[in-house]
């Protein structure tokens, strides 16, 4: 059951839901420059999602295109990790989520660029450059907030603590997949350890490790996100936009 369609869908859903959350910041960012940067990252994620979902639809061979997959599935059919669907919270929570996501996506896309599937390799080659920027941007903010004021340090540590449990799901082993996520954990840990230390933040102990997103068992947040995202498309069945 965990063939290339399922794998591609997981990556596409991660990117789509991340884009939807990041785009919620539009016109609300702490600085105008950051509004531009967050929109930029949302656009990168959305672009990757479109490529991945289009390809997933082709692999499935049931005639579903990117919009059919994005707009006409319910939350139980989505395969994204829980991390990306968590609410944005304050700016520190958003940066913690983005930092962990990018620290996972960069080695993932890098490995994908060398995989045997040509389409996935091309998507990985494009997306890894974008992920490198996302990681750079998020890590800069983690350092700024961690080593900024007392208030920002408190918020950044709380954000890291609150999101940390959700990173473990990203690395669940899947040896048959084009890239086995378990093989990415070393890179992720190195990045996270280095940046958190520079940011004067404490790396949380691992205890609770929620999961289920890859099987379509999500948090309560996802169906609200999808209700908003899908409402107009579903209100006009068959319409072109």
């Amino acid at each position: 059951m965990h063939g290339p369609f399922e794998f591609t869908l997981r990556l596409g859903d991660d990117a789509l839901v991340a884009a939807q959350r990041l785009a919620e910041w539009t016109s609300r960012a702490p600085e105008m420059e950051e509004d531009v940067a967050l929109a930029n990252i949302a656009l990168d994620q959305l672009g990757a999602a479109r490529l991945l979902l289009t390809y997933a639809g082709e692999l499935e061979g049931a005639g579903r295109d990117e919009d059919a997959l994005a707009y006409l599935r319910d939350d139980r059919e989505f395969r994204n990790c829980l991390l990306v669907e968590l609410p944005n919270g304050d700016f520190a929570v958003t940066m913690a989520k983005l930092f962990f996501l990018a620290a996972y996506q960069l080695p993932l896309y890098t490995a994908l660029a060398g995989c045997a599937d040509e389409r996935l390799a091309a998507i990985g080659a494009k997306a890894r450059k974008e992920s490198a920027y996302h990681l750079d941007h998020a890590a800069l903010w983690v350092r700024r907030l961690g080593d900024g004021t007392e208030e920002s340090h408190r918020r950044m540590q709380a954000a890291v603590d609150g999101t940390w449990p959700y990173v473990h799901e990203l690395f669940a082993a899947d040896p048959a997949a084009p890239v086995d996520p378990a093989t990415l954990r070393g890179d992720f840990d190195t990045t996270v350890t280095t940046v958190l230390a520079e940011a004067t933040l404490t790396r949380p102990e691992t205890g609770w490790t929620p999961a289920g997103g890859r099987d379509g068992v999500h948090t309560e947040h996802l169906s609200y996100l999808l209700a908003e995202m899908q409402v107009l498309h579903r209100a006009h069945p068959g319409a072109r936009w």
């Binding site: 789509l16 939807q20 785009a23 919620e24 539009t26 016109s27 609300r28 960012a29 702490p30 600085e31 105008m32 420059e33 950051e34 509004d35 531009v36 929109a39 930029n40 949302a42 656009l43 959305l46 672009g47 999602a49 479109r50 979902l53 990117e66 919009d67 994005a70 707009y71 304050d90 700016f91 350092r143 700024r144 907030l145 080593d147 900024g148 004021t149 208030e151 920002s152 918020r155 908003e228 995202m229 409402v231 107009l232 498309h233 006009h236 068959g238 319409a239 072109r240 936009w241």
Partner: protein
Amino acid sequence: MYGNDFAAADPSGGDLLGQVEAAEAALRAAAARGRGGAVTSGADPEAYFADVIDADQKIEPRDWMPEAYRRTLIRQIAQHAHSEIIGMQPEGNWISRAPSLKRKAILLAKVQDEAGHGLYLYAAAETLGVSRDELVDLLISGRQKYSSIFNYPTLTWADVGVIGWLVDGAAIVNQVPLCRCSYGPYARAMIRVCKEESFHQRQGYEILHTLAHGTPAQRAMAQDAVDRWWYPSLAMFGPPDGDSTHSAQSMAWKIKRFSNDELRQRFVDMCVQQAQTLGLTLPDPDLRWNPERQAYDFTHPDYDELMRVISGDGPCNRQRMEHRRRAHAEGAWVREAAAAYAAKRVGRREKVAA
């Protein structure tokens, strides 16, 4: 070579882009020509300023300029920048619900462009000796205004299309002449902004075209949006010429090149053809070609309504301001952290150097 070079627009808005490119070419040509006789400003700065304006050269930040010219430009550029920033809200309202991933990407990129325009314009205003923080403060304290059009709500997806077609269209008609503004940084900013706005207008037109040729419900949605946005778009050109307070002096300084009513007429003439191509109706029973004037007669917007919206009583004034104030206030701790982090880095570098 300016002032009479405005042919009728084609439905795609490409003609406006041609005018932007002509303005850019004129700017380059003027720079290549040099400032001729008016080479120094040392002896008689006022005469120098007048010469530069007369010769259609650009005033630059280093040049002497009358205080009123500086104040007028700061007000105009800042209000333009504020409009870009507030203008992100009505369209941003539909990013999360865009009906296809392609439309979502286009809309997100468009709203991002507006943030970029705001930043670019604040930077242009800063060349006149005012800081962005001061200008942002004037916006959130309500002492400076933004374009009133953004105080109307975006109720359906078709509003996103109409904002692109009519609101960006009106903005371009307003801004294309500003590409020839006498103040160099503003003229250059406008050239860049107009190129992107022209792209946005085309995208809005395409959204409407798709809706107008879609299902009956989509078509009705498109017509409803045109009905609601037509008169507010006409009001974007400001009060009629007789009531416009800043116009004469701005014309003399070559900040402004055409009157409000001239620009409004140009916009109407452009939109009639485009509405026909779209198959949508402009909600004005008295709209008809006048062969004597070689222009369309049309019903003017309700200028009392414009004044009410400007003074704060439009449908969304309170909401837009509250949104901006909240974003600014909620971001304060982040900006403070960034400043504290930067200061620590400087401190550490100095310690290393010592």
